[in-house]
Symmetry: C3
Subunit: 317 residues, 3 copies
Amino acid sequence: MQHFTTVKDVSDPKKLVEKALSVKKTPFAWKHLGENKTIGLIFFNSSLRTRLSTQKAAQNLGMNVIVMNIGTEGWKLEFEDGAVMNVDKAEHIKDAAAVMGAYVDILGIRAFAELTDREADYREEVISAFQAYAGVPIISLESATLHPLQSLADWITIQEYQQKPRPKVVLTWAPHPRALPQAVGNSFVEWMNQADVDLVVTHPEGYELAPEIMQGVAVEYDQNKAFAGADFIYAKNWSAYNDYGKILSQDADWTVSANKMALTNDARFMHCLPVRRNVIVDDAVIDSPNSLVIPQAANRVVSAQTVIMELLQHSIK
Amino acid sequence: MQHFTTVKDVSDPKKLVEKALSVKKTPFAWKHLGENKTIGLIFFNSSLRTRLSTQKAAQNLGMNVIVMNIGTEGWKLEFEDGAVMNVDKAEHIKDAAAVMGAYVDILGIRAFAELTDREADYREEVISAFQAYAGVPIISLESATLHPLQSLADWITIQEYQQKPRPKVVLTWAPHPRALPQAVGNSFVEWMNQADVDLVVTHPEGYELAPEIMQGVAVEYDQNKAFAGADFIYAKNWSAYNDYGKILSQDADWTVSANKMALTNDARFMHCLPVRRNVIVDDAVIDSPNSLVIPQAANRVVSAQTVIMELLQHSIK
Amino acid sequence: MQHFTTVKDVSDPKKLVEKALSVKKTPFAWKHLGENKTIGLIFFNSSLRTRLSTQKAAQNLGMNVIVMNIGTEGWKLEFEDGAVMNVDKAEHIKDAAAVMGAYVDILGIRAFAELTDREADYREEVISAFQAYAGVPIISLESATLHPLQSLADWITIQEYQQKPRPKVVLTWAPHPRALPQAVGNSFVEWMNQADVDLVVTHPEGYELAPEIMQGVAVEYDQNKAFAGADFIYAKNWSAYNDYGKILSQDADWTVSANKMALTNDARFMHCLPVRRNVIVDDAVIDSPNSLVIPQAANRVVSAQTVIMELLQHSIK
């Protein structure tokens, strides 16, 4: 594994999940691996879980951690090749990435979609530039279109709580007042496609995810039908892919309610957080014993530590 | 001690001060206590002393430290139970606190009073929510109505500098151009009430502190009379409790001047800082050899380290 | 060395460069030096390289690092002696510096020129106040008029890449859309004056640097003549010193181009970064094999580590 930005970077995702479960048992057993190593966590956007869990994960491995909010603590970066930089951008990504890579052994990057230009977002301009220029392994802390540390934590959680060999896992769109990226949904599908689960994606018409992600994945436009017999309900909002970045529906009927959960096979409820309560999911569901949102968030430390450990063991001299 | 948010959390405050004085002598003698432990410091408001001293204290104990400015680096939190979160708040405190608690062993929280709704401030909404939902010990880094780490540092300082068994300690209101919380004043009274001191509080009429705090405490409206024979003058501004959050006076006659100090028993001058010079206190006083403001601020490391150590020894598995 | 704010603080700059080259070989050989020591890095302005490289340097030495953005995380400081602080400044530098000094063993300070009042900037108000009041060694992380950590890194880089005993080093002004401080230019001249190099400074008329800095230094107003036979081209923009803080020219003919570089003795190209590409320097130059900008930036860790190590060894009890 050279970088960690998509499931495609991982040669054997199932093995990575197995590794994660063993890392979770003895988190401090590999503190020597990170000795004299530094991870830089660069945030172009806000973060709570990712910020805290990735720091914790790196510290569990004995690494030094340097955190930087590039928007407020640094300056605007230029991404266009050959630009005459006489306006507002103070530094080219080529130079900034190379410099950051010179100071640390691993770089984590968070850079959300802007949701105005689909081509640009799906080109993954920011994280690709870091991969091209930093000269060190790059970990996605959520990029424009993917959130692999979240998906790995999701998979770990499902593995821990599944009651049968091939559970039915339903990713359901749910309403939200703001336009959100597709990253968590895309990424969950990408990873679940590698797992031994029956994956169904349900959403109102018009909310289809990117075709390259959804290839071969079951879609069910009727949420009630999708929920029938489900073992895991994973709720998430995203804005439209086709009518890019648009909110097409705020239909409260898609909110995950106790009535909807009653259609399932006593399913566990999952969400990556932060979650809009009583919009995405009713209190009655997220506060029920079937809710996994906190263990799922706790597994963010495990997924980050596993990925960093993998890079320390195999990708860094 | 399960949390540290008020003197009431401490079974034996005098013993805690004794412990602090011994911690101060050999600050690095307990580095093993914090091994593989992490403290998260969450700031809803600005901070200099608390930010730096608490980090230093935790590092003295060998802990990892994660600092987060939740206002600028995270997002707005919802505190209302059952809220339909379809406006501006992205995450409920229930979820945010539980997640933060899943990543760290101790949480420090700074959340000031808003000074608009007295009931809300005195309910201590933010810090109580963290106590309820985080699942780990909570340290107040100054809450809406109390600042116990400051008060403990104040007590340590008084103990170090007192020249007689039962010194006269005067808390004096002083003018300030902005409306400030009552936290430092409240907390100082709360802690000094447990110490072997003669405590007098002096302020203009209308600036009475909360009655539950002031029960049994001597109030003197004439600052000159209060200063007579004092061994310690502790200056601090606060806005009104009764006419909640209002500035009722900016009377420069309440500024602590050399003339006022001449009325005392060669008293030491104290203030928690930051201080408005020549408004709260004249340069001649704060720059005099009788000023304790810097040793007092330095003791913030001692008070924080003592509290964290107590939690590491007795409250964390 | 008591502080590190100018080359004048260093008794033997050449010896410091030699030390740096040996530090670079075994960066982790002195981790015991920083045990139980803390460095505070205080930023009044944005920073990328300095922020990351100084953290990395201190961690290489086993120190704890505390970073603070005083603008956004703290409050406005008063610098005027005797001020009646009843307006917007919440704390006097006297108190803030003394407190910070009480919490850490070394303080790094970044505070840029405001470019409105030359006297004030050249008095170095901020960094001088920290030197006066903090009671611990101060490291400049770029002050109003000097940037010594950068200049030391520049010297190290020149020493590593020079092909002959006394290379010709040219500092060339280059255009920029915004008014920038003179700190990097001043500081480079100050340090190069101590090195075995032939230093030439070239810029349009009106862009003369401070006379006290330029004493005895060769100035050449014709950039082409200056470049002739040069071994190192160091590009940097600055605003006018005489017509203080003004932009007098944005003449694109001063941009460092491949044609200009062809006039040199196959010179290496240097810049402190961040750099405006195709304004300060053309892509063809900065992306050429002769560009040293990344190794130069990487040497920021080496210069910071050397300076911190020097202070740990000789200036701190």
